[in-house]
Symmetry: C2
Subunit: 328 residues, 2 copies
Amino acid sequence: MEKIRIGIAGYGNLGRGVECAVKQNPDMEIAGIYTRRDPSAVKPLTEGVKVFKTDALEEKQDIDVLILCMGSATELPIYTPKYAAMYNVIDSFDNHNDIPKHFANVDAAAKKAGKLAAISLGWDPGLFSLSRAIATLALPRGENYTFWGRGVSQGHSNAIRRIEGVLDARQYTVPVESAVEAVRRGENPVLTTRQKHTRECFVVAAEGADKEKIRQTIVNMPDYFADYDTTVTFITQEELDRDHKGLPHGGSVIRSGKTGWNEENDQVVEFKLTLDSNPEFTSGVLVAYARAVARLAREGRTGCMTIFDIPVSYALPVSPEEMRAHML
Amino acid sequence: MEKIRIGIAGYGNLGRGVECAVKQNPDMEIAGIYTRRDPSAVKPLTEGVKVFKTDALEEKQDIDVLILCMGSATELPIYTPKYAAMYNVIDSFDNHNDIPKHFANVDAAAKKAGKLAAISLGWDPGLFSLSRAIATLALPRGENYTFWGRGVSQGHSNAIRRIEGVLDARQYTVPVESAVEAVRRGENPVLTTRQKHTRECFVVAAEGADKEKIRQTIVNMPDYFADYDTTVTFITQEELDRDHKGLPHGGSVIRSGKTGWNEENDQVVEFKLTLDSNPEFTSGVLVAYARAVARLAREGRTGCMTIFDIPVSYALPVSPEEMRAHML
């Protein structure tokens, strides 16, 4: 059987994660890595894989599905619709508020070109979204809760790094365990932002920097920290490199609902992730759904889809017979 | 919009659960309850709902989806294919070994009649199956574990009731917490049947019955108890009725896998259910997927499907736009 040819656009943590995930999926191979850096300076992990300038994508490459491993803030809104006009594509667009607009743009481009796209794959959005949907269909009367962490938020870490006098930083999002437990007990608590998560910041300050001023700037930063109980710990670069090198993450989607004629029974559904590597797990989901995109495109599907629209059987490399015999 | 008309075939715990679930789904209504008992002796919870003898189904009823609320051992293998030749149907067939055969029978009957069927919906098989699939696609290198309980097994309770001198019984399946914790830590332990679950039996013995003999019969019963550490506690009927009336259940599907170029990172996915009422939760899933069957049948799909084949969007009563805006 011919392998599914995966293009990787962008070669940061996520792109390297996709490369590792392809290695674990024998029905796939890497068609090429596309980067804005100097290709000769990029060393792929996979033997024999070619690296190109992103511009090479402008001339039709032999790719079944292009996985866009770029940022949601400024890159994906441009590049997913752009490449959906030439390739089957998939991305991990995670700006929840802008999903409807992004979907419309990608859908229009893909439909016009007769290509298929899938957006917002990964774990949130992605498997967490699917879990919210599954729990909601089983329990129409209930509440969904999503807790993130304990894990590194790269966006928040970057926000701290932009402060004057900060050399480096790592920010952990931490769920408030008592809130998680109350939800698990089916209490359906009303929780403010502050009651759901705390934020832990590990900061390397420049010599002579005003640490108290840095701390105040962090804890009062609107959107990022002001609505949370935030702790700031100053450490050395050596300590940061030694103790905070990984990108762990995870969290829980919990739905608690009522069933019965008088809604007398409590039912709780939880989907929980405990991840050593956030980008590698996201990549695993992207690669599996790239398989689904390749298959659905072969069946003639075009336009944009989300995880809600794709039967899970399309994302797995086993036959329906095997799935029914061993997984059902 | 016209409501989806649900037929309920079988009116035990599961049938009543379906009735309660339809109440929570305003886009549905009950077309009729079909029972082998005397219809005049059956009192539905829903005002105005008619009760018929099961035979009435032989003459085409005005039903969009017939939900078969019957046992997997002897009834569903006969009745799901039979009614799939006349109606769109859904069942909770849970005899894992016989699923391929059941699927083939139902698929043939439904295809021939131009009807659509979905089998093995509920939580295991059902949402647990979907969770095994989701975790496996994200983590191709890993192991799936399924733990059930703490919860009442009706099959095991019935097996005890058949022993001479036993008046009533309740059996709880209990996961071994240390095994669950080892799996959660990503240790991928090899576990025997005995190491995964224990069985707790609460038994009401007849006056003068030989309790030690009953205990020995239980703990040595092949298939049901012999491979487990089983405890037997004798109680009065009053205690059983007071303390063991409910049908709680639940459990966890856990997959622990490795990612990274050298598989250096541990990733753990867990899907967990904590249910006050097993039949009511199963019913909620059945009713939601009955919606999916009704919609897919309208699109012209025929034959048999499983939870792996059905996009989750079809099971939810919200538009794709709403799902993308609020659930993704």
